[in-house]
């Protein structure tokens, strides 16, 4: 238990640093799609809800879990969908060669 906790803290710390480094380089041009993308990725919380519902430990937990699945899934689907729509709109006037 104790070592699991420490492992988790290490993972959290490293992921924060990766997050800062990666996102620092995102062009301000794309800040809106960035936010809708991280939103969709964040909805990975759905996996917690899926296990909760699937294990069926109590009626109460199942009800909350199903609502949670609905909320998170709508973020996954809606988030990826709108991010893709936004990015399709970004076009350059220069010939596409880099």
């Amino acid at each position: 238990m104790g070592s699991n906790l420490i492992d988790s803290l290490f993972i959290f710390m490293l992921a924060c640093f990766i997050g800062f480094e990666v996102i620092r380089h995102v062009s301000p041009l794309l800040h809106t799609p960035l936010m809708s993308l991280t939103n969709a990725l964040d909805a990975i919380a759905v996996v917690g809800a899926i296990v909760l519902v699937g294990e069926r430990k109590s009626e109460f937990a199942t009800v909350l879990g199903v609502i949670a699945i609905v909320a998170a899934t709508s973020n996954v689907v809606g988030g990826f969908f709108i991010t893709d729509r936004m990015l399709k709109m970004f076009k350059t006037s220069r010939p596409v060669k880099k």
Binding site: H25, M35, L41, G48, A49, G78, F80, F81, S93
Partner: protein
Amino acid sequence: MNEFAGSQYLIEIIYLVASALFILSLKWMSSPATARHGIWAGEIGMVLAIAGTLLHRGIVDWKWIVIGLVLGSGIGIPLGMVQMTAVPQRTALSHAFGALCVTLVGTAEFYLRTPNVPKFMMSVLSMEVILGGLTFTGSLMAAGKLQEILPQRPITYKGQNLVNFLLFSAAVGSAVYLVVHPETKQLFPLIVGISLIFGVLLVIPIGGADMPTVISLLNSYAGLSAAAMGFVLQNKLLIIAGALDGSSGLILSVIMSKAMNRSFRNVLFGAFGQVQASAAGGAEAKPVRSATPEEAAAILSAANKVVIVPGYGMAVAQAQHKVRELYDMLTKKGVEVRFAIHPVAGRMPGHMNVLLAEADIPYDRLIEMEEINGDFPQTDVALIIGANDVTNPAARTDQSSPIFGMPILDVDKAHTVMVIKRGMSPGFAGIDNPLYYLDRTLMLFGDAKQFVGAIVRELGGGH
């Protein structure tokens, strides 16, 4: 660790791959050229993770999982199809949904495990529901304000900060007590309840112009609460995704608060939006020069370099497609047209870029504030459409101005400044803009969409 069955190893490996894909996904977002790969990486990671989770051997009931997934997709599709002008409220709403999921799972986990919750687990669980709860109601409030269901003006009252502080302390205090005395489980609904109320009160005093910062901050909270949920469930993928989202939101909030000249501490404790109200005072009717669409068209077509400065007013008037016609028309006449984008123009980070991209304006024409500010002295015409405070030169010169020190677009250095505006009423912050009284400034009074349309007609009729 011995209880790790074969399928459990497989799930962990799948989560590992999904984590890598998530990081790549964000990395590819750094440039428009690779950004769409980023979406694919994210989608593949997500599908893998969900499929992997279904292998979980504890799962005995499939029916409700499927119902939840189908219902969620049914809600998600229309949410993904909203108009680009509605993106800020959609984003706020999805923060609310994310936080709702985290709060509900946290609540269910608490009642399944209590009273046998180790102290650390209980602390993280409290953090999860506090952050989740306040993000849920706070984001709903923000979405309501952006959708104009709720009043956009800040609602303030005496002692507001004190009330907020006491409420937040009460939530944290109860959480600490519950950690120390796990048997007092009746405290848990209290913690959740206070957090929900706190979220509402936190966003009530915030006005439209501060929305970019608030949305970023709520983004960060949503991420952190998901990471906390990862600790509770011992799920590394969740910890990573939550940390990425949390740091992304934090970076955006810092950028936004710098662009608004607010200290980050100020932002963290939600004291936004209250500073300004008093500043309006006695703005006397000073003389301004105004011009007609014909005159504006003549000046624009005689120019070599034009910089267009869009703001939230352009979004409200839905003028971006007319602006695109203007861009086409002027470009055809050999005028160099660029767009100056202030970081907090609009209601969320990057709002203007998305609107202009929607209108098919190439993104290499959209220039950030720092890059374009040096070019204004060589600019013939700066055309401001629905922006106000971000062009206010008082931010540079007038120490008594509430926005003194806020970085602005130096439009007043252009040879001619044209401002499309409905009337002389001050901007959101209630601050008079000295730009409008300059000799080189022409006020173009009217609705942004109609006025730009009129200029376009004039330009088209000229040949």
